[in-house]
Amino acid sequence: DVKVTQSSRYLVKRTGEKVFLECVQDMDHENMFWYRQDPGLGLRLIYFSYDVKMKEKGDIPEGYSVSREKKERFSLILESASTNQTSMYLCASSFGGAVPAYGYTFGSGTRLTVV
Protein backbone atom coordinates (compact mmCIF):
# COMPACT_ATOMS: atom_id res chain seq x y z
CA ASP A 1 0.00 0.00 0.00
CA VAL A 2 1.60 3.24 -1.14
CA LYS A 3 1.87 5.96 1.39
CA VAL A 4 3.20 9.24 2.67
CA THR A 5 4.47 9.04 6.24
CA GLN A 6 4.89 11.97 8.59
CA SER A 7 7.17 11.21 11.48
CA SER A 8 5.06 12.68 14.29
CA ARG A 9 1.30 12.82 14.77
CA TYR A 10 1.43 15.32 17.63
CA LEU A 11 4.26 17.63 18.65
CA VAL A 12 4.60 20.25 21.38
CA LYS A 13 7.52 22.67 21.19
CA ARG A 14 8.58 25.80 23.02
CA THR A 15 8.81 29.25 21.46
CA GLY A 16 12.23 29.79 19.89
CA GLU A 17 13.01 26.10 19.39
CA LYS A 18 14.16 24.79 16.04
CA VAL A 19 11.60 22.27 14.81
CA PHE A 20 11.97 19.58 12.15
CA LEU A 21 8.93 17.96 10.52
CA GLU A 22 9.80 14.93 8.43
CA CYS A 23 7.91 13.44 5.50
CA VAL A 24 8.79 10.26 3.62
CA GLN A 25 7.02 8.80 0.57
CA ASP A 26 7.54 5.36 -0.94
CA MET A 27 5.98 5.98 -4.36
CA ASP A 28 9.03 7.40 -6.17
CA HIS A 29 7.15 10.69 -6.58
CA GLU A 30 9.05 13.67 -7.94
CA ASN A 31 6.86 16.33 -6.35
CA MET A 32 6.49 16.93 -2.65
CA PHE A 33 4.57 19.63 -0.82
CA TRP A 34 4.16 21.07 2.66
CA TYR A 35 0.86 22.68 3.66
CA ARG A 36 -0.47 24.08 6.86
CA GLN A 37 -4.17 23.78 7.64
CA ASP A 38 -6.02 26.24 9.85
CA PRO A 39 -9.78 26.57 10.48
CA GLY A 40 -11.40 28.92 8.01
CA LEU A 41 -8.22 29.25 5.97
CA GLY A 42 -8.02 25.80 4.40
CA LEU A 43 -4.76 24.36 3.14
CA ARG A 44 -2.09 26.92 2.44
CA LEU A 45 1.06 25.97 0.56
CA ILE A 46 4.30 26.65 2.44
CA TYR A 47 6.97 25.13 0.19
CA PHE A 48 7.17 22.57 -2.56
CA SER A 49 9.84 20.65 -4.41
CA TYR A 50 9.81 19.24 -7.93
CA ASP A 51 13.07 17.37 -7.64
CA VAL A 52 15.90 16.49 -5.29
CA LYS A 53 17.67 19.58 -3.96
CA MET A 54 15.08 21.82 -5.60
CA LYS A 55 12.66 23.92 -3.61
CA GLU A 56 10.21 26.68 -4.35
CA LYS A 57 8.29 29.02 -2.08
CA GLY A 58 4.59 28.60 -1.81
CA ASP A 59 2.10 31.16 -0.58
CA ILE A 60 3.28 31.46 3.04
CA PRO A 61 7.00 30.60 3.29
CA GLU A 62 7.93 33.16 5.95
CA GLY A 63 9.38 31.55 9.06
CA TYR A 64 9.93 28.19 7.32
CA SER A 65 12.62 26.47 5.30
CA VAL A 66 12.81 23.04 3.66
CA SER A 67 15.33 20.40 2.72
CA ARG A 68 15.15 17.72 0.02
CA GLU A 69 18.40 15.79 -0.01
CA LYS A 70 16.80 12.53 -1.16
CA LYS A 71 13.88 11.96 -3.47
CA GLU A 72 11.76 10.21 -0.87
CA ARG A 73 12.24 12.69 1.98
CA PHE A 74 11.07 16.29 2.34
CA SER A 75 11.72 18.10 5.60
CA LEU A 76 10.05 21.25 6.88
CA ILE A 77 12.10 23.35 9.28
CA LEU A 78 10.86 26.02 11.64
CA GLU A 79 14.04 27.94 12.41
CA SER A 80 12.63 29.59 15.54
CA ALA A 81 9.15 28.37 16.38
CA SER A 82 6.51 30.94 17.29
CA THR A 83 3.01 30.55 18.69
CA ASN A 84 1.45 31.63 15.38
CA GLN A 85 2.96 28.52 13.83
CA THR A 86 0.68 26.33 15.92
CA SER A 87 -1.21 24.42 13.24
CA MET A 88 -1.83 21.13 11.45
CA TYR A 89 0.94 20.44 8.92
CA LEU A 90 0.20 18.19 5.96
CA CYS A 91 2.76 16.71 3.60
CA ALA A 92 1.73 15.56 0.11
CA SER A 93 3.37 14.07 -2.95
CA SER A 94 2.63 13.39 -6.61
CA PHE A 95 4.34 12.32 -9.81
CA GLY A 96 6.02 15.04 -11.82
CA GLY A 97 4.43 16.94 -14.68
CA ALA A 98 0.65 16.56 -14.87
CA VAL A 99 -1.17 16.18 -11.58
CA PRO A 100 -2.78 12.73 -11.48
CA ALA A 101 -6.55 12.48 -11.71
CA TYR A 102 -6.77 11.71 -7.99
CA GLY A 103 -4.64 14.70 -7.06
CA TYR A 104 -1.99 14.35 -4.40
CA THR A 105 -1.33 11.61 -1.88
CA PHE A 106 -1.37 13.05 1.62
CA GLY A 107 0.26 12.11 4.88
CA SER A 108 -1.79 11.89 8.07
CA GLY A 109 -0.62 15.26 9.31
CA THR A 110 1.38 16.57 12.26
CA ARG A 111 -0.45 18.71 14.78
CA LEU A 112 2.15 21.12 16.10
CA THR A 113 1.55 23.20 19.22
CA VAL A 114 4.05 25.94 20.08
CA VAL A 115 3.85 27.10 23.68
Binding site: L41, L43, Y50, A101, Y104, S108
Partner: protein, 112 residues
Protein backbone atom coordinates in the same frame (compact mmCIF):
# COMPACT_ATOMS: atom_id res chain seq x y z
CA UNK B 1 -3.45 34.72 -7.86
CA UNK B 2 -5.55 31.54 -7.93
CA UNK B 3 -8.40 31.51 -5.46
CA UNK B 4 -10.81 28.80 -4.26
CA UNK B 5 -13.60 29.62 -1.80
CA UNK B 6 -15.90 27.13 -0.11
CA UNK B 7 -19.17 27.75 1.68
CA UNK B 8 -20.40 27.36 4.25
CA UNK B 9 -17.33 27.15 6.48
CA UNK B 10 -19.21 24.83 8.81
CA UNK B 11 -22.54 23.06 8.80
CA UNK B 12 -24.40 21.04 11.42
CA UNK B 13 -27.34 18.86 10.33
CA UNK B 14 -29.31 15.87 11.60
CA UNK B 15 -28.77 12.36 10.37
CA UNK B 16 -30.90 11.72 7.30
CA UNK B 17 -30.77 15.31 6.04
CA UNK B 18 -29.44 16.24 2.60
CA UNK B 19 -26.60 18.76 2.38
CA UNK B 20 -25.08 20.82 -0.40
CA UNK B 21 -21.53 22.12 -0.18
CA UNK B 22 -20.32 24.87 -2.47
CA UNK B 23 -17.00 25.65 -4.11
CA UNK B 24 -16.27 28.67 -6.31
CA UNK B 25 -12.97 29.38 -7.98
CA UNK B 26 -10.90 31.87 -9.93
CA UNK B 27 -7.83 30.25 -11.47
CA UNK B 28 -5.63 30.69 -14.49
CA UNK B 29 -5.60 27.79 -16.95
CA UNK B 30 -8.22 25.64 -15.24
CA UNK B 31 -7.80 21.91 -15.81
CA UNK B 32 -10.10 20.18 -13.30
CA UNK B 33 -11.71 20.40 -9.86
CA UNK B 34 -11.27 17.81 -7.13
CA UNK B 35 -13.19 17.04 -3.95
CA UNK B 36 -11.59 15.43 -0.91
CA UNK B 37 -12.95 14.16 2.40
CA UNK B 38 -10.78 14.62 5.49
CA UNK B 39 -11.66 12.85 8.70
CA UNK B 40 -9.05 12.72 11.41
CA UNK B 41 -6.23 11.82 9.07
CA UNK B 42 -5.11 12.38 5.49
CA UNK B 43 -7.57 13.84 2.96
CA UNK B 44 -8.96 11.10 0.75
CA UNK B 45 -9.97 11.63 -2.86
CA UNK B 46 -13.70 11.69 -3.74
CA UNK B 47 -14.22 13.09 -7.24
CA UNK B 48 -12.51 14.78 -10.14
CA UNK B 49 -14.61 16.99 -12.42
CA UNK B 50 -13.44 18.24 -15.77
CA UNK B 51 -16.54 18.92 -17.85
CA UNK B 52 -19.52 21.13 -17.10
CA UNK B 53 -22.88 19.59 -16.41
CA UNK B 54 -21.75 15.98 -16.03
CA UNK B 55 -22.63 14.62 -12.62
CA UNK B 56 -20.21 12.32 -10.84
CA UNK B 57 -21.85 9.97 -8.38
CA UNK B 58 -20.65 7.57 -5.71
CA UNK B 59 -23.32 6.12 -3.45
CA UNK B 60 -24.99 8.97 -1.58
CA UNK B 61 -22.44 11.52 -2.78
CA UNK B 62 -22.64 13.39 -6.05
CA UNK B 63 -20.95 16.40 -7.56
CA UNK B 64 -21.30 18.64 -10.58
CA UNK B 65 -19.23 21.41 -12.16
CA UNK B 66 -20.32 24.64 -13.85
CA UNK B 67 -17.36 26.04 -15.81
CA UNK B 68 -19.29 29.06 -17.00
CA UNK B 69 -20.20 30.25 -13.51
CA UNK B 70 -16.95 28.85 -12.02
CA UNK B 71 -18.35 26.71 -9.24
CA UNK B 72 -19.03 23.17 -8.15
CA UNK B 73 -21.39 21.61 -5.63
CA UNK B 74 -21.06 18.44 -3.60
CA UNK B 75 -24.34 16.83 -2.52
CA UNK B 76 -24.72 14.25 0.21
CA UNK B 77 -28.14 12.63 0.60
CA UNK B 78 -29.46 10.68 3.61
CA UNK B 79 -26.49 11.80 5.69
CA UNK B 80 -24.94 9.48 8.28
CA UNK B 81 -22.67 10.22 11.24
CA UNK B 82 -19.78 8.76 9.23
CA UNK B 83 -20.14 11.68 6.81
CA UNK B 84 -18.89 14.05 9.51
CA UNK B 85 -15.62 15.42 8.15
CA UNK B 86 -13.95 18.39 6.52
CA UNK B 87 -14.69 18.51 2.80
CA UNK B 88 -11.99 20.10 0.69
CA UNK B 89 -12.30 21.47 -2.81
CA UNK B 90 -9.16 21.87 -4.94
CA UNK B 91 -8.63 23.20 -8.42
CA UNK B 92 -5.98 21.87 -10.74
CA UNK B 93 -4.38 24.50 -12.93
CA UNK B 94 -1.60 24.50 -15.46
CA UNK B 95 0.89 27.30 -15.05
CA UNK B 96 4.33 25.88 -15.59
CA UNK B 97 4.17 22.74 -13.52
CA UNK B 98 0.63 21.73 -12.68
CA UNK B 99 -0.52 22.37 -9.14
CA UNK B 100 -3.55 22.14 -6.88
CA UNK B 101 -5.01 25.18 -5.13
CA UNK B 102 -7.15 24.25 -2.13
CA UNK B 103 -10.20 25.96 -0.75
CA UNK B 104 -11.02 26.90 2.79
CA UNK B 105 -12.84 23.65 3.51
CA UNK B 106 -16.32 22.98 4.92
CA UNK B 107 -16.59 21.26 8.30
CA UNK B 108 -19.70 19.06 8.23
CA UNK B 109 -21.10 17.64 11.48
CA UNK B 110 -23.92 15.10 11.44
CA UNK B 111 -25.93 14.82 14.66
CA UNK B 112 -27.49 11.40 15.35
Amino acid sequence: EDKVVQSPLSLVVHEGDTVTLNCSYEVTNFRSLLWYKQEKKAPTFLFMLTSSGIEKKSGRLSSILDKKELFSILNITATQTGDSAIYLCAVRSNFGNEKLTFGTGTRLTIIP
